[in-house]
Amino acid sequence: MARNSLGREIPATFAGKAILPYADPYALLPERDHASRPLRRVNPGADKVVKSLRQAIEASGLKSGMTIATHHHLRNGDALLGRVVREIDALGLRDIKIASSSVHPVHAEIIPYIEKGIITGLECGVNGPIGEMVSKGELHCPIVVRTHGGRARALISGEVTVDVAFIAAPTCDSYGNMNGFYGPSACGSLGYAHTDALYARNVVAVTDNLVPYPASPISIPQTLIDFVVEVDTLGDPSKIVSTTTRVTKDPVGLQIARYASQVIEASGHLKDGFSFQTGSGGISLAVAEQVRRMMREKKIKGSFGCGGITGYFVDMLEEGLFQALFDVQCFDLRAVESMGKNRRHMEISADMYANPFNAGAVVNRLDCVILGATEVDVDFNVNVNTESNGYLLHNTGGHSDTAAGAKLAIIVAPSIRGRLPIVRDAVTTVTTPGETVDVIVTERGIAVNDKHGELKEELLRRKVPVKEIRELQEEITKVTGKPRPLEFEDDICAVIEYRDGSVIDVVRRVKE
């Protein structure tokens, strides 16, 4: 056991692989080349279409011990991963690792296959029951949680080799050209799948909307696709995208959003060329609404909106408040529709979005990002992976990537969550290091990282309730009391990779 720079105990190895403890957000760059894969040749007349998913798996050459990937652009509506795993089982393959971009609650359907030893590792973060069962020791399957940028990095650097990538393609032709804009499972951007199309050793396009050649527009081109298979359905459209994402009506959430927008205004970044990212949560959208109002009032012409895109950002694009949108994933129907018609609403890969090991990701150009937290601590470290019960319930997403990239990373969170104070002495799990977090906004006050002395002064001048983080913590704890610390066993069920591949924290089994 070594301690990383945040004082977290990190083992020397996890699931048989050596671990590098986290040291710093910006310094690490291993000396190596891009991963490679074999050349391919498809001659004229060859047919890429196979009759079934099972045939595709056989044709791909997948064997026991190998690694597969799917992508979460269909979010909690995805039926593909479960289907692939069932076929793998039927073919008698064992010891398969999953290196998907994320696993959602719908994928609880693969739990029996983990129990049977068909799936023996998750090279990706998880949302929902799988993480909870692993945290309780009810399920044994090592988990490596990665950020969106970190996953792209791991594939590109060859730290993770995906043997077969199965890409859910809402629109696809028989030669593998695809997009996510149209069809019954339309999801908009296919941002997470691009890296796999380039780096997986074999790539299978799975579609429920096979269109005559050529599909257009093309998000992922035929040159990267080995096989095409048609299925009746890719998933449940009602769970793929939200019909609408809405601004919160909760007065506490609105108060937080108001403070956050005051921070943005005071930061001096809100001027021509402003770039901005929020999630799709109600508070985030409330901040977006405030930012939109301020941009209108001050006649600001922004540069770009980024990330998971919602209808709010589409409206801002169409209103001329942003020059362009960078979209890794669409969160609602408005965003999906917009991708199909707005040329300035651009699909980008997770690599371009957030990979730290390329010649510059989009997150590096962000002025401001609004992020959430399940906990924060007095060192500004943020947890989004585990909840206060210690269970691994959420994937990191682009949290640490955007925090590291943006000039101003603002955490918005209610001061009390399920009776527990949001500000702790030390977070249960560090997802994002405090050195990349600039401001924490709760309805009871705002804490500004010491590195932003000027911003702090300016906020105080504007009579915004800035407090020292310990002061804020004390105030909240006065209402909630001090929670009893959780107890953990020694065994490690998951590691939390920082975006550069070093390990920022581990998740231990919860003592029941």
Binding site: P251, L254, Q255, I416, E443, R444, R461, K463, K478, V479
Partner: protein, 306 residues
């Protein structure tokens, strides 16, 4: 002017809801009115009283004015409400159904008794009576002068329209005469006038229109039922930049006048005297509360030495 207190937004908070009470410190309204009356069902009157008292005891870092709306003094709960909550030191009492000056006088006497008993300064607890019936409106001119404890008169349109056996409309024509009379009564007595609630928490445009109207009529603020309404009301009451700039020039001019030993001076061709200064100071204090301006206002310079 030393007792200048913004009361643009007085938010009702149900006294029987801990989740709402705990958020009182974070809402950005000028004051709260913790409600023991209409919001609390009969079966919860006792529990709410205990809850409110314990909240008041723990709310040590007061960052806004705290009033408690008690049950009317002619109900069986009114006096028990006072007994329970006054030791928690609210700033004042919102008195429902203040139909006559006598109702306020009764409360005044009771508050004096409590103040003596608790060893507090006499007059510490303030009163904001609700003018919410035809009778209340008719008597409000006398009510406004019925006690030194009054911070203002609060108009209550829901009960008022009920007492008139009419419907309340969104445009509010039916309230015009009553509102005007409440403003007269308040101004004549040198206290504030607080308008009624706007019940539709989803209609922000309607709220904005009504707030603009009552600001024009002379009200200092509104009672409100939903924290989401705070922002709109504050926006309406925020002074315009031109008003702020002019007020700054007025204060500057009167400072020069004082240096010259006079209380009147001409500014941009117009005479600046006490009422103009008073208005300018009110604009600046409001602007400061909105964070629009940061000035030091020295009463002695502004009003002259006595």
């Amino acid at each position: 002017m030393a007792g200048f207190q913004l009361r643009r937004t007085l938010l009702y908070v149900p006294g029987n809801m801990p989740s709402m009470l705990q958020n009182i410190p974070i809402f950005q309204c000028d004051g709260v009115m913790i409600d023991l009356e209409d919001a609390v069902p009969l079966s919860e009157k006792d529990a709410a009283r205990t809850l409110v008292r314990s909240f008041l005891d723990n709310y040590s870092e007061r960052n806004k004015e705290v009033l408690v709306r008690i049950n009317a003094l002619d109900t069986k709960w009114g006096r028990a409400d006072l007994k329970a909550i006054l030791p928690g030191l609210p700033d004042g009492i919102r008195l429902p159904k203040a139909d006559t000056p006598e109702v306020v006088e009764t409360l005044d006497t009771l508050l004096t008794e409590f103040e003596e008993e608790l060893g507090l300064e006499i007059g510490r607890f303030r009163i904001l009576p609700s003018i919410e019936s035809a009778e209340g409106v008719i008597n409000c001119i006398r009510t406004a002068r019925s006690s030194k404890r009054l911070i203002g008169l609060a108009f209550g349109a829901e009960d008022y329209t009920a007492s008139l056996e009419i419907e309340r409309t969104k445009s509010g024509e039916e309230l015009f005469a009553a509102r005007t009379r409440v403003v007269w009564a308040s101004r004549a007595a040198g206290i504030q006038a607080i308008d009624t609630i706007f019940a539709d928490a989803s209609d922000m445009e309607g709220l904005r229109r009504e707030t603009e109207l009552i600001k024009t009529l002379g009200f200092n603020g509104k009672s409100l039922v939903n924290p989401r309404q705070i922002e709109v009301i504050h926006e309406v009451f925020a002074p315009k930049q031109a008003e702020v700039d002019y007020a700054l020039r007025v204060v500057d001019a009167i400072k020069r006048a004082r240096e010259m030993g006079t209380g009147v001076i001409s500014l941009e061709g117009r005479m600046v005297d006490a009422p103009v200064v008073k208005r300018a100071v009110r604009v600046l204090k409001t602007a400061m509360a909105h964070g629009l301006v940061d000035v030091e206002l020295d009463d002695e310079v502004i009003y002259g030495q006595e």
